[in-house]
């Protein structure tokens, strides 16, 4: 738990190929860099089986490629922080990203949150937000001491949050929308060892209902009829196919298709705020493109922070 502001030169939101590549470039150029990300398997690359079209890489899964990218950035001292960003201050000279755990400030900010955000909400979700519906177990877990809760999701973020909730809740119902959960083995092991957790594979959360506060949910397990679960809390970490921009809370213009708008250097309408990867829409969704955009934005940001007019390419520098 971190009560202090963490100050960096560059803060990157999202640790997929775009964010990790940007971090590699800024960290390697000596800028103090932080990447804030929800988890390894919360993005498009992290859930991709096998990568066959990233040049120079053969026989690697998405998670393996992403892990390599992150380790490479870390080797140049980029910090990778596990947190979910819920809000930002872009107007001030120093840009700040606020997470569930900490706040991260930088002279420049790169948004690389991808496009696995949710569009439609579940029935009852908005109505009961703060009345049992939550997106942050760290924040709200303690309100559910000895009560039954559900967690919906299938990423390592969802598993992490469920594990945290087992410390408070009487029972945690874990609903994975898919047959399998996309999380590292050790997390899944930890999950299955908890006595107060029940895992429902291929289970859809259909509705949250209550009377002033949440008291139940309707779920649908594949091949079965709708079921009613008595719960007092619903923690939702589901994913979709929308660019993730909700944490911006209207501070940047969004195109009709829901994407961020950038210039040729991937800078948004606000100086020193960049957006790269799947969160912008003017390209095909490919790892190599996202990585390339991360590199361009990183070099542009570095140039500005160092007060140079042109980027310097150091052909000889190698690690």
């Amino acid at each position: 738990m971190n009560n202090e502001n963490n100050n960096y030169d560059i803060v990157i939101i999202g640790g997929g190929p775009a964010g990790a590549t940007a971090a590699l470039y800024t960290a390697r150029s000596g800028l103090k860099t932080a990447v804030v990300d929800k988890g390894l398997t919360t993005g498009a690359l992290g859930i991709t089986g096998k990568i066959e079209n990233y040049p120079g890489v053969t026989d690697k899964s998405g998670v393996e490629l992403l892990t390599t990218m992150r380790e490479q950035a870390q080797s140049f001292d980029a910090a990778f922080i596990s947190d979910r960003i819920i809000g930002v201050d872009l107007q001030s000279d120093i840009k700040t990203a606020y997470g569930n755990i900490g706040a991260y400030s930088g002279k420049a900010l790169i948004i690389a949150t991808g496009s696995m955000g949710r569009g439609k909400r579940i029935e009852g979700e908005s109505e009961y937000l703060g009345r049992g519906v939550s997106y942050c177990a760290t924040c709200d877990g303690a309100f559910f001491q000895d009560q039954d809760v559900l967690v919906a999701g299938n990423s390592d973020e969802a598993v992490d949050e469920a594990l945290f909730l087992t410390n408070f809740a009487r029972k945690v119902h874990f609903l994975s929308p898919t047959e399998t959960i996309n999380a590292p083995e050790e997390l899944l092991d930890a999950l299955s060892k908890k006595e107060n957790i029940e895992i429902y594979p291929a289970a859809k959360l259909k509705e949250i209902s209550g009377n002033g506060k949440v008291d139940s949910a309707i779920i649908k397990i594949k091949g079965k009829d709708d079921e009613n679960l008595d719960i007092e809390g619903a923690f939702i970490y589901l994913q979709g196919r929308k660019p993730i921009t909700d944490f911006l809370q209207g501070q940047l213009a969004i195109s009709e298709s829901g994407c961020l708008i950038v210039d040729q250097q991937y800078q948004t309408a606000i100086e020193n705020v960049y957006a790269v990867g799947d969160v912008i829409c003017n390209h095909v969704k490919q790892v190599i493109i996202a990585a390339g955009e991360g590199a361009v934005a990183a070099m542009a940001a570095e140039k500005v922070l160092r007060g140079r007019r042109r980027s310097i390419v150091d052909w000889k520098k190698s690690h």
Binding site: M1, N3, D83, I86, G87, D89, Y98, G99, N100, I101, G102, A103, L129, G130, R131, G132, V133, S134, C136, T138, C139, D140, A142, F143, F144, G212, K213, V214, E232, G233, Q249, G250, Q251
Partner: protein
């Protein structure tokens, strides 16, 4: 009162429910990131709206009683209270301009006192 007042469970009734001025009550806890996002905004509002609204803060770790009574199950939750009645509740952090909009709407909709 140009600063937020920290309110205990014991003082809640007098400070919040019996307040002459409208009150914004922020239920928060030290370990909550989104609460830290709201805190500087509320500090600023307390100064700018001095004499128009009271900003009250309740640490739910130390003072859980009223949070429970109001069914608060997520923080930050801000209750907009007038004459002891909750007029509006805002769950989750908002950036400054949006929080001010919510506050202005709340203040404008209040009945004028004789």
């Amino acid at each position: 009162m140009s600063e937020p007042i920290h309110v205990t469970d014991a003082a809640f009734e007098k400070t919040v429910l019996q307040s002459e001025l409208p009150v914004v009550v922020d239920f928060w806890a030290p370990w909550c990131g989104p609460c830290r996002m709201v805190a500087p905004v509320l500090d600023k509002i307390a100064k700018e709206y001095n004499g128009k609204v009271v900003i009250a803060k309740v640490n739910t770790d130390e003072n859980p009683q009223w949070a429970q009574k109001f069914n608060v199950r997520g923080i930050p939750t801000m209750l907009f209270v007038n004459d002891g009645e909750v007029v509006h509740s805002q769950v989750g952090a908002l950036p400054e301009p949006m929080l001010k909009n919510v506050l202005n709407e709340f203040l404008e909709a209040l009945p004028t006192k004789e």
